[in-house]
């Protein structure tokens, strides 16, 4: 499988120019997720209005797949409700695990469709999912009225 299928131009673009970088000044919730296997880390902050994600930012250090996927995630969820964001998260997870039927839905996944190649590199799946896991965590905490926390990515959860 050619390297180019994994490292598509879209992915490299998101890596070089993340769409919502940095920290939110007034996040409702901020979570920090970390993948100890490779040292990828992401701090995801969200601001909600009701159940709508009005703002989001990601500050991170890590491999191109983890950082680019997190950037794509921010693009796909901003301005959407939490249920819609969770649907996108689930669609992306299915894409990573090769469980999508037919063509990946570009409406729901946006640039996330470019990550289809990651499914063939099991070690990198966790990298791609890190941002989405952080989002799910942040959204759940925001809805529950908590402030956020630090999470080490648990291999047994959500894979």
């Amino acid at each position: 499988m050619a390297l180019e299928e994994l490292y598509q131009e879209i992915i490299l673009d998101h890596y070089r120019k993340p769409r919502h970088p940095g920290r939110l000044a007034q996040a409702d919730v901020e979570v920090r997720h970390y993948n100890p296997v490779c040292g990828d880390q992401l701090t995801v902050g969200v601001k909600l209005d009701g159940d709508k994600i009005t703002d989001i930012a990601v500050e991170g250090v890590g491999c191109s797949i983890s950082q680019a996927a997190a950037s794509v995630m921010t693009e796909q969820v901003i301005g959407h409700t939490v249920p819609e964001a969770l649907e996108a998260s689930e669609a992306f997870r299915r894409l990573m695990h090769g469980e999508s039927e037919g063509e990946p839905d570009e409406e729901v996944l946006g640039d996330g469709v470019a990550f289809a190649g990651v499914a063939k590199y099991p070690v990198r799946i966790k990298c791609a999912l890190l941002g989405w896991m952080a989002l799910k965590d942040a959204a759940a905490r925001a809805l529950a009225g908590q402030d956020g926390g630090e999470t080490v990515y648990d291999e047994d959860e959500g894979s």
Partner: protein, 422 residues
């Protein structure tokens, strides 16, 4: 089964210059290709590849000599017992240790845990200090944290300098009559740094402290010996030494080992057992509970035979030559930052680096597409990476079968990686 190898026919070490091309055919895995490219295996510090001779020895044991050891009277069991004990003797001789203080373990991690549990928990007290170093592998760090927590002792770390060597002045300042153990790597699995264990041991002994040397890299690549290092305990492992996984070795000073209570208890390590109590076997068997990994021991003995026939001085010289070539070529890459002394007098065949802003995971991925296997991450040494402001690095490591051509392929692939992520 034995192919033409780099050894003279009577088995004595060959004095001609070593040529890896002559031994590579002994390693069946090098026939494999990945992504259409021949395997370029630069991760021997992680685990080494195995020659036919090791595989054949293990296969022969299970096909023709397998039985449980030490207990049965029948001839086959005698053969199995002989296989185990002869393997022990060969391994002990290879590292200059005494047979009776050569314990088979699962790996180095288990060997260090053995010392932490069997010696540490019974001999460390509140206020005692264990010195480790900032460059230790987690295996020679976490067990001491555990022992300290359970005994009230304290773990302190000898720092690593910006030149990637141990700060020996800091070591002198840390040593005191409270120091009971110094746990140190003989050769760093990240930096390649060769630590002056004999000197460290001398100073530790002067204050009454014991020394445990993690020689997981040093035994296979530098040919260190137990008597040469001067430590009280030394751990190494078969799978980094061209042997199988699941067999490691802990050697110790015999009187010290003999004074120790067991680690794991059960069968084999006892002498007499009643319902209420048990008495212990002699060393080394006191520290080998349950059925041993006889197949693994046989494989390890075949591996030390293989390396011994080449001669560890020639193994070291070859790896140093490839490492020197790698160090020379790697610095041609703009943005490559070497982590390690950068000179083969101070560094064994392990070279870690960062490549500009490219994450090690991505480096390893691009290299994989070229059939090149390297390790990316923290190499089980998180504190060391934190010390240098990193979360991860890329590591290449060499063995007796590594070649300069492989280094050339590595550099070409690293250049390609940089251009992809520019």
């Amino acid at each position: 089964m034995t192919t033409t190898t780099d050894r003279s026919r009577d088995g004595t070490p060959d004095r001609a210059p070593f040529d890896p091309a002559r031994i590579r055919p002994d390693f069946p895995i090098f026939a494999r290709e990945f992504h259409g490219k021949p395997l370029i295996y630069l991760d021997s510090a992680n685990t080494s590849q195995k020659p036919d001779q090791v595989l054949a020895a293990m296969d022969d044991y299970y096909r023709r000599h397998n039985a449980n050891v030490h207990r049965a009277v029948y001839a086959l069991a005698e053969e199995a017992t002989f296989a185990l004990e002869e393997s022990r003797a060969k391994v002990a001789r290879f590292v200059g240790a005494s047979d009776r203080a050569t314990v088979f373990t699962k790996n180095v991690t288990e060997g260090i845990n053995l010392v932490a549990y069997a010696w540490g928990l019974r001999n460390l007290h509140e206020g005692d200090e264990i010195l480790v170093t900032e460059m230790e592998h987690h295996a020679n760090l976490v067990p001491w944290q555990m022992a300290a927590q359970l005994t009230g002792a304290r773990v302190r770390a000898i720092p690593v300098t910006d030149a990637f060597v141990l700060d020996l002045d800091a070591y002198d300042r840390l040593l005191s009559e409270r120091t009971k153990l110094v746990a140190v790597s003989a050769m760093s699995n990240v930096l390649g740094t060769i630590n002056p264990v004999p000197l460290i041991a001398e100073r530790a002994h002067a204050v009454g402290a014991l020394v445990l040397a993690d020689a997981a890299q040093a035994v296979p690549h530098l040919g260190v010996t137990f008597d040469g290092l001067g430590a009280d305990f030394m751990g190494f492992t078969g799978h980094k030494l061209l042997g199988p996984m699941g067999i490691g070795v802990l050697v110790a000073r015999p009187e010290l080992l003999d004074s120790m209570e067991p680690f794991q208890t059960g069968g084999e390590m006892i002498r007499q057992v009643t319902l209420e109590s048990a008495t212990w076997n002699d060393i080394p068997w006191r520290f080998e509970s349950g059925t041993p990994n006889v197949g693994g021991a046989v494989g390890l003995a075949a591996a030390v035979d293989y390396l011994g026939a080449i001669g560890m001085d020639r193994v070291r010289a070859h790896e140093a030559a490839v490492t020197a070539y790698a160090l020379e070529r790697l610095v041609e890459l703009d943005g490559l930052r070497l982590l390690g002394p950068g000179d083969v007098e101070q560094q064994g065949g392990v070279v870690s680096f960062t490549l500009g802003d490219v994450h090690p995971h991505d480096v390893a991925q691009v290299l994989d597409a070229e059939g090149i296997a390297v390790r990316a991450g923290d190499h089980c040494a998180m504190p060391l990476h934190t010390r240098f402001g990193l979360s991860a690095s890329t590591r290449v490591s060499f063995s007796v079968y590594s070649t300069n051509d492989e280094v050339d392929a590595l550099v070409t692939a690293l250049d390609k990686t940089q251009r992809l992520f520019a």
